[in-house]
Amino acid sequence: MDNKSQKENPSGSSRRDFLKKSSAITAIALTPAIAVKASDLKLDEKLSEAMEQMPLNIEINGEMHHLKVEPRLTLLDLLRERLKLTGTKKGCDQGQCGACTVHVDGVRTNSCLSLAIMNDGAKITTIEGLAKGNELHPMQEAFIKHDGFQCGYCTSGQIMSAIACIHEGHADSETNIREFMSGNICRCGAYANIVNAIQEVKAGGKV
């Protein structure tokens, strides 16, 4: 996904680029009278926008959003680029690192491999949605206490995954925690401390 063009143009991609690629638009453009008129009036831009944006109703951290998005926008880019919820991180952007993990209807998901439009009607929880006011979530507290990070880049994803790991019933042993946290890579190697944090939260019984 081209982040640069997203920033320059909040509604999505380069319009010209889309025109070149859209067969539907090409078909219309082949009709000379319409094509000439459209180009004169700059209607091509409006037309392509109407066709590429789709309505999306999505609840994020308890707040409803009524949006229009391009089909190719990922849930991760929606969160970060459109809604400025930058707590969810973009690591590999290919489903290999887990930094982008969020909960979709309570289920942990790689937001980088999920199209935003396919989450219509879903309830999303991101790292920003965990704390209650100034009170951190027990998993956030435990990560701080056990030093479950160094650089912190993978931490949002680790915490979202760790909470789900307990909910799924996969946090009953160190072996299982390591297996069921394997979708979250930590280049700093804080794994031992992350396991400790999860075990403490699991034992505390609040999650």
């Binding site: 590429e52 290919q94 390591r178």
Partner: protein, 328 residues
């Protein structure tokens, strides 16, 4: 990622109509493989047809036969009580693949259609007959450590990356398919194909067809089964070699046995000759070793994957030992 049109369909007929209307349209359910490939530019469909609302999300039991809908998530199927009871091999194989997050999204039908993880298939600057027919194969003379030792051709030596598929072929699963001409059933062993001269085709599924579900017939294999996966790290990596081994034992006599290998071929590789050898014999290390020797007949390695010629039979023997429970 190129932009594309997106549409949701509410019936299999509508999905088939979309595929018939637009040859570049692709079905999407979990999207964990397709969206990744679209980001790399390996695939660029003009239209995505969302099939998550077709009602193919149930697991039903008919006596001991399981019917698993095409859009059931891998995480749901692997944790399902009936799957665990009747087909533990399938659950174990699925849990050894990908990560919890990916299994939460990835579907049964999507996993069947998972594309190869050959690095040259993903690298759009490299020739690849699977991605671009006729352009050549970069892997045959390239870095082919992950590649096939069985059934490859001079156009493609890629392997099928799925763990689930290895279990399904061992369990004689049947793939339920709907298309413009009606419904049909494809035996799992015939669902994936060898590369031959058309490596761009992974399966025998027609472009206008849609997978509706997977049927796994009842068997007497649940008590003795294992999926052994050897990989570069302990979790979340593709198989170098994997073996699905499951058998019906009467005392120490093998009444029935199923064996399949992953990480070795363009399709999940059923080891029928080794099965035939073992049927009626005693579960013993000696017989397992002989079976492994039979299984490896015709294997051919390339520059960087010769280690598989030893790793494959060793993994098979270890899997047979675990499944049968013999100590030796």
């Amino acid at each position: 990622m190129n932009n594309f049109q997106y549409t949701r369909v509410s019936s299999p007929a509508a999905a088939i109509a979309e595929l018939s209307k637009d040859p570049t349209a692709k079905l999407v359910a979990g999207g964990t493989n397709l969206i990744d490939l679209m980001k790399y530019g390996v695939m660029a469909p003009d239209k995505l047809v969302d099939i998550n609302h077709l009602g193919f999300n149930e697991i039903k039991k008919d006596n001991g036969t399981l019917h698993i809908g095409a859009t059931v998530r891998n995480a749901v199927a692997s944790g399902n009580a009936d799957v665990l009871k009747y087909q533990p091999l399938l659950s174990q194989a699925m849990l050894s693949g990908a990560s919890p997050q990916l299994r939460n999204k990835a579907t049964m039908g999507g996993n069947l259609l998972q594309r190869t993880r050959c690095g040259y298939f993903y690298d759009i600057s490299a020739p690849c007959n699977k991605r671009e027919p006729g352009s050549g194969c970069s892997a045959i003379e390239g870095y082919n450590r992950m590649h096939a030792i069985f059934g490859a051709s001079d156009t493609c030596i890629a392997v099928n990356p799925s763990d689930m598929n290895v279990a399904l072929v061992a369990l004689d699963a049947i793939i339920m398919v709907a298309g413009p001409k009606g419904n049909r059933k494809i035996p799992m062993a015939d669902f994936h194909r060898l590369p031959g001269t058309h490596p761009e085709l992974d399966t025998t599924l027609d472009k206008k067809e849609i997978i509706t579900g997977i049927v796994i017939p009842d068997n007497h294999l649940a008590a003795h089964s294992t999926y052994l996966k050897v990989r570069d790290r302990a979790s979340y990596a593709f198989a170098l070699i994997s073996v699905a081994a499951t058998m019906d034992l009467e005392g120490s006599t093998i009444k029935d046995v199923r064996l399949a290998m992953g990480g070795v071929a363009h399709k999940p590789w059923r080891l029928t000759a080794a099965e035939e050898f073992l049927k009626g014999k005693t579960a013993s290390l000696e017989n397992f070793n002989q079976a492994a020797e039979i299984a490896m007949k015709g294997a051919k390695a390339y520059e960087f994957n010769a280690f598989k010629l030893k790793l494959a039979p060793n993994t098979m023997v270890q899997a047979l030992k675990t499944a049968s429970g013999i100590k030796a």
